[in-house]
């Protein structure tokens, strides 16, 4: 390749990545500078400009995308300080989408399950969201100033806690006496025989889950009375969530849950899905709490 052609290609590659109104001016200036640099190197080397010298000149200028970026710096689509949040949002969202598809994967194993498309949509949506956030921050930089929120993360809503306790109580009632609960909710109708629990599950394994739920209800009652979470209560909540998760994993792999095969397969598929959801939540909580200094030590360090 001729030397002029090399320089010309380089200049064009830089110009291609610049705004239209800058291209011709920067191209002419860059061409002049490259030529002068090449001539000086050739004079120093005591020979005519050749491809080796031209390659040296172009290497020292740098790759065309980098040079173009120096002429016209552009902001990153995702702010560098948002990269961690961006990655976490993408991973957690993708994990939830995969988990939501688990029942159909288990119940229809021969069918093709397209998880790629929703995950790509999700990634696209997250890129747009973070891109807009970055743009808004550059447009209105004052919004970046930190300000304390009035919401105390440890304070609990007593109404919310009571509602949660009632829901757990309802769950325990429905699961321990499904026939009676169904009749009560439907005005006396009998539960179809296909929706009956397997006796081994109902009297052998289910009581463990009911006990775990009961302990969760007790925990929420304590939290509602205290009005706030503390590290010990958070740890107990995590342990109970892990226990429920472990029990559901056990139920989905050991023995029948329902007497008939189709409802049994459906129940187990949903148990697998709920287990995976719980794992995501537990993982997120562990990640959030890992390495955090206790409030007491932090207050001491702050001189409180």
């Amino acid at each position: 390749m001729r030397v002029e052609e090399m320089l010309q290609r380089y200049v064009r590659e830089v110009a291609d990545q610049l705004p239209i109104k800058m291209r011709s001016d920067v191209s002419l200036e860059l061409a002049t500078l490259l030529r002068e640099d090449l001539q000086t190197r050739a004079e120093t080397a005591g020979r005519a400009p050749d491809e080796t010298l031209a390659t040296e000149v172009l290497k020292s200028f740098g790759p065309p995308p980098e040079v173009a970026a120096r002429y016209r710096p552009r902001p990153a689509i995702i702010d560098p300080n948002e990269t961690r949040n961006f990655i976490l949002t993408v991973i957690i969202g993708a994990a939830i989408l995969v988990t939501a598809g688990v029942p159909s994967m288990i119940l229809e194993p021969g069918k093709t399950h397209d998880l790629g498309t929703p995950i790509l949509w999700w990634i696209g949506a997250v890129v747009v969201y973070f891109g807009l956030r970055g743009w808004a921050r550059r447009r209105w930089p004052r919004q970046r100033d930190w300000a304390p929120t009035r919401k105390d993360p440890d304070r609990v809503s007593r109404v919310g806690s009571v509602a949660l306790i009632l829901m757990i109580g309802l769950g325990i009632t429905v699961f321990s006496e499904p026939q009676r609960a169904f009749a009560l909710l439907t005005g006396g109708h009998r539960l179809a025989s296909s929706l009956e629990f397997d006796p081994g599950f109902r009297f052998g394994r289910l009581p463990w889950l009911l006990a775990a739920w009961m302990w969760q209800a007790v925990l929420f009652l304590v939290v509602a009375v205290r009005g706030r979470w503390n590290p010990a209560l958070r740890r107990i909540e995590l342990v109970l969530s892990m226990a429920v998760c472990g029990l559901l994993a056990w139920f989905s792999t050991d023995g029948p849950v329902m007497t008939q095969s189709v409802p049994n397969a459906t129940a187990k598929a949903f148990m697998v899905m709920i287990t995976l959801f719980l794992l995501i939540i537990i993982g997120a909580k562990i990640y959030q709490q890992a390495g955090q200094v206790s409030d007491r030590r932090l207050r001491a360090a702050l001189g409180g």
Binding site: M22, V26, L28, E29, L30, T32, L33, R35, E36, D37, T40, S60, F61, G62, E66, V67, R70, Y71, P73
Partner: protein, 116 residues
């Protein structure tokens, strides 16, 4: 102690901070890009081509420099010179640099005594 991999990066960051001031200091009279680069290199401040030339364009777009094409010596060249705003900026940056330089000298002198 800086290891073999971190020193070049840290040195680059240190030098990057003074590139604008160094360039402005040599542009009271018009110069074209290559001539400016040579002038800086001759005074112990070599700056990569790929960094200096785009910087001149950015400073021009910010109103710190003005430029014009000249064909005095044959080949057309783009000459850059400080604008009135550029002169004011050069004064401000020079003051900042001298304050920083004084502070750093004191810091390094004190640090040197402590290190011993």
């Amino acid at each position: 102690m800086a290891d073999g991999t971190s020193f070049p990066q840290l040195e680059l960051e240190l030098r990057r901070g003074v590139v604008v001031l160094a360039a402005l200091s040599q542009l009271a009279a018009p110069r074209y890009g290559y001539e400016l680069r040579q002038a800086l290199a001759d005074r112990g401040m070599p700056i990569e081509e790929g960094t200096l030339y785009p910087l001149l364009r950015r400073l021009e777009s910010q109103g710190v420099l003005t430029s014009e094409w000249r064909t005095d010596a044959g080949a057309p060249r783009r000459y850059y010179v400080l604008s009135p705003a550029g002169h004011a900026l050069l004064r401000q940056l020079t003051e900042t640099w001298q304050t920083l330089n004084d502070s750093m000298e004191r810091l390094l002198a004190t640090g040197g005594r402590h290190a011993r």
